[in-house]
């Protein structure tokens, strides 16, 4: 995807509309709607869709970086170390932003030590 073309803005507008519709649609449907009851059902596969997609995106972002680094320990060690710091922070603090900032700080420190 190119950030300069019309396709970029088309994607942004489409994402904005879709995001709004997914939030607004349930208010437009009857509370007795079979679709809504199906989606709200305990154990619906939809419950796993969000976490699974996030996991897929994480792998798609992280794996190519690791492949690019190859066997270069000076690049891989800080990257993996930063991910570990982020993961531990995410489990310990509920705030995602704080976990990301701690992970970035950990990556920076490890990068400086490796450099």
């Amino acid at each position: 995807m190119n950030a300069d073309g019309l396709g970029f803005w088309g994607a942004v507008i489409a994402m904005a509309v879709i995001t709004y519709l997914t939030r607004a649609l349930p208010f437009m449907l009857s509370e007795r709607s079979r679709l809504l009851r199906h989606l709200s059902r305990e154990g619906s596969a939809l419950a796993a869709l969000g976490p699974s997609l996030l996991a897929g995106i994480a792998a798609a972002v992280i794996v190519p970086d690791l492949m690019d680094a190859g066997a270069d320990a000076a690049r891989i060690a800080p990257y993996v170390g930063g991910l570990v710091v982020t993961g531990v922070a995410a489990r310990l603090v509920a705030n995602t932003g704080v976990a990301v900032l701690l992970g970035m700080a950990g990556y920076g420190v490890l990068l400086a030590l490796a450099g």
Partner: protein, 211 residues
């Protein structure tokens, strides 16, 4: 709202690192206003994913929002017009806060309470993005090593989101999704990897719950 700020700053920094202009990054936060989808957009720019795929993946990622309306309906005013105003502001965090607190707010004040909560979170999101865009750029010029650290914001964000979502019975589905998507991504198919991750994770969840 306090929790939103660091994530928004991270989005601003990651957006600049992805090669977007400051206006592009800020307008995405203004109009899309969905953290995971916005970071998906950045990941897609990095991976060169076709934009139709990005929109399709965004739809799947946002499908969870379909659950919020039915759960909040009984606390909100009956007028559809009022509900549609609230809908734009209904993010994961706003939903979680409203679901826990809205029943303690007197019914007559609930619409105003929801709008105040949602607007506060939206403005915090936009302000945090702007701080990330402009402060991030200044820091990068004065401290070049920070450029490399800023590019780590995107993998760190998804790592944090995955670790936090792997709770309440989602551990194995998430591990299966990472393994499936990781194998496909290692073969160079990053867009397909996201879809495979979603399918493998949902299948693992169904298998886990089947008697």
């Amino acid at each position: 709202m306090i929790g939103y700020f660091p994530v928004a700053v991270t989005f601003g920094i990651a957006g600049m690192a992805a090669g977007l202009t400051p206006l592009q990054v800020i307008l995405i936060s203004v109009f899309v206003y969905a953290g995971a989808s916005q970071f998906l957009l950045l990941a897609s720019i990095k991976a060169g994913t076709p934009w139709l795929w990005v929109v399709a993946l965004c739809s799947l990622l946002n499908a969870r929002h379909l659950l919020y309306g039915p759960l909040l309906s009984r606390f909100l005013p009956a007028a559809l017009r009022d509900r549609l105003k609230v809908a734009f502001l209904l993010t994961d965090e706003v939903f979680a806060t409203a679901f826990n607190r809205l029943q303690t707010v007197p019914p007559a004040r609930r619409q105003g309470w929801m709008i105040a909560l949602g607007l506060g979170a939206w403005l915090t999101w936009i302000a945090g993005t702007a701080v990330g865009v402009y402060a991030g750029d200044g820091l990068e010029r004065h401290y070049p090593m920070l450029s490399q650290v800023m590019r780590f914001a995107l993998p760190a964000l998804f790592m944090a989101l995955v670790c936090q979502s792997a709770k309440r019975g989602m551990g194995w589905p998430v591990i299966a999704a990472v393994a499936g998507a990781g194998a496909v991504a290692a073969m160079g198919h990053t867009t397909l990897a996201i879809l495979i991750g979603a399918i493998v994770g949902c299948a693992a969840y169904r298998l886990k719950r089947s008697p």
